[in-house]
């Protein structure tokens, strides 16, 4: 089961001087139970891809399918979209009311208890935070409350645009925990300029260049053949750059690591053999 994009083409301001092709034939899948990390320089089409996958931007060619059938309308309960800085959309009188807004609008049964469970899943105790004003939360808490507002829709797929931007390390870790937990039940796609913290969670990496897929594959595959990724104007995350450099030196890495301790062990082992 997967959220699938096939030959997606999206052009903004069609027929005007500002015409701009944002996606130029993108094909990829987000499988349930997996995380896809999408990277690319500004203007490469990352955010447009997410919006197209969420049914917010209609493609002019190609299609998006969810588990083999077309996207429902509205798509919100099937594909949940968390925009960049989602805490800027909080408005409810209480955190609980805000999180329950989505399920209520979509006529879901018992929005209240859905909201409670969503808050729990983002690590905000409903007892403690439910009755507070969303505007009294810290940056990291507000970010998680906003994510809970999407999780309360129980989407099968979750799309996140720069979910950790502007957070300090504890806020970032809390968001990573949410991704790790939700990955079990959902397919997740994350768009980011800073893929480093997501590497341990990423099943696949996709690099976009000028609206096309320049690279898609595992972290392992990326380190063994970084050429197309680099050609998209991107820099490898430091840990991967280190391992690619070691391989370039002739080291025989058993497997590519995504955490420092793992990488150190792999490098030491490779030093023994080379």
């Amino acid at each position: 089961m997967a959220l699938t994009a096939r030959d997606l083409v999206v052009t903004y301001n069609r027929g005007t001087v500002a015409e701009q092709r944002a996606l130029d034939g993108v094909t990829l899948q987000v499988e349930r139970g997996s995380v896809l990390v999408v990277v690319g320089v500004t203007g490469s089409g990352k955010s447009t891809l997410l919006k197209a996958l969420a049914g917010i931007v209609p493609p002019e060619a190609g299609d998006v399918a969810i588990d083999g059938s077309p996207l429902p309308r509205p798509a919100a309960s099937a594909v949940g979209m968390v925009f960049q800085n989602p805490e800027r959309q909080l408005f409810g009188e209480t955190v609980l009311a805000d999180v329950a807004f989505g399920p209520r609008m979509l006529g879901a049964p018992d929005p209240q208890s859905r909201a409670m469970s969503a808050l729990e899943r983002v690590g905000l105790d409903p007892e403690e935070f439910g009755a507070r004003s969303p505007f009294s939360l810290s940056g990291g808490e507000a970010r998680r409350a906003a994510i809970a507002g999407i999780l309360a829709l129980e989407p099968a797929y979750l799309l996140l645009d720069e979910p950790t931007v502007g957070l300090d390390s504890s806020g970032r870790r809390a968001v990573l925990d949410v991704v790790e937990r939700e990955k079990r039940d959902r397919g997740i796609a994350i768009v980011t300029h800073h893929p480093d913290p997501f590497l341990p969670l990423a099943d696949r990496i996709c690099a976009l260049k000028e609206g096309r897929v320049a690279f898609i594959g595992t972290v392992e595959g990326l380190v063994r053949d970084p050429g197309p990724y680099l050609a998209a104007g991107l820099r490898l995350p430091e840990l991967l750059e280190l391992q690619a450099a070691a391989i370039g030196r002739g080291a025989r890495l058993e497997r590519v690591g995504t955490e420092p301790s793992e990488v150190a062990r792999a490098l030491l082992a490779a030093r023994g053999t080379s």
């Binding site: 301001n13 500002a18 969420a54 917010i56 509205p74 919100a76 309960s77 949940g80 979209m81 925009f83 989602p86 800027r88 959309q89 909080l90 408005f91 807004f101 989505g102 399920p103 209520r104 609008m105 979509l106 505007f135 507002g149 999407i150 829709l153």
Partner: protein, 264 residues
């Protein structure tokens, strides 16, 4: 909304664009005076010619100058109808038109008012199309400056206006973002009657205002950090300067308008 232009200003480098905003503001003031003083259609013909010459000197597309007229077309129609149509055959020469009576003399009167509205709209459109909002704010500030001696905070009002103009595109963009994001949570903005639609805007307006207040807070810090002190004298990099051409245009234009106002 992304392509939203501030006001309706169309940047270009024409004679009219280059005029000092005060010249253009004064020109519109004299134009208004003339339009409301004259009593004869012939005067409108002359004023129309003056405006047409200005439009030609502005190198603006005629269509964009006339767009404002389209916007007031309903007002024009009502003005004409109110003067030309009567319930009873009260006046001489009136013609039956179903249950109503058409009054030719009234029609001429209505047409007179309608032409006045058209000329006024075209004249002010020319001002806002050929003058950037910031220049307009600057011009207004300079014209109001004498009021500062009476304690009117002219400088602060002008700064307020400039900042409001500066943040229109930012706010429009943000409103669009919030709407898309709330729609992704199932919000609907296009269903139900007016009350339901108004209520549907709450999830957009609340975050929009909260964000605006935060923005205002930060902007105030940034302004103070660069030595802005409310009410204090500032200079401007682009000091408005009346050139010879400004004085010539203003004197000729004002003279023509006053002559028309007195003679016709």
């Amino acid at each position: 909304m992304r392509g939203l232009s501030i006001g309706q200003y169309i940047p270009a480098d024409s004679f009219v664009h280059r005029l000092d905003p005060r010249t253009k503001l004064g020109g519109v003031a004299f134009l208004t005076l003339a339009l409301f003083s004259v009593r004869r259609f012939e005067a409108f013909a002359l004023i129309g010619a003056m405006i047409a010459a200005s439009v030609a000197a502005s190198s603006l597309p005629v269509r964009s100058v006339l767009r404002g007229v389209k916007a007031v077309s309903l007002v024009l129609a009502i003005t004409l109808a109110a003067h030309a149509l009567r319930w009873g055959a009260a006046t001489e020469g009136a013609m039956a038109l179903g249950p109503l009576w058409f009054d030719p003399a009234g029609f001429v009167r209505g047409a007179f008012f309608a032409v006045r509205i058209v000329l006024l709209v075209v004249g002010t459109s020319l001002l806002t199309l050929a003058t950037s909002p910031v220049a307009l704010a600057d011009g207004l500030e300079r014209l109001m400056r004498p009021l500062a001696t009476l304690g009117v905070p002219v400088g602060d009002v002008a700064m307020m206006l400039t900042i409001a103009l500066r943040f229109i595109p930012t706010t429009a963009y943000e409103a669009e973002q919030v709407m898309v994001a709330q729609a992704a949570r199932g919000a609907r903005f296009d269903e139900g009657g007016p009350i339901r639609r108004a209520r549907a805007l709450v999830p957009v307006l609340v975050p929009l205002f909260v964000n605006l207040f935060r923005r205002a807070d930060e902007l105030a810090v940034a302004m103070e950090a660069r030595c802005y002190v409310s009410g204090r004298r500032r200079t401007r990099m682009h000091e408005l300067r009346m050139h010879l051409s400004d004085w010539v245009v203003l004197v000729v234009w004002a003279g023509a308008c006053l002559a028309l106002a007195l003679a016709m």
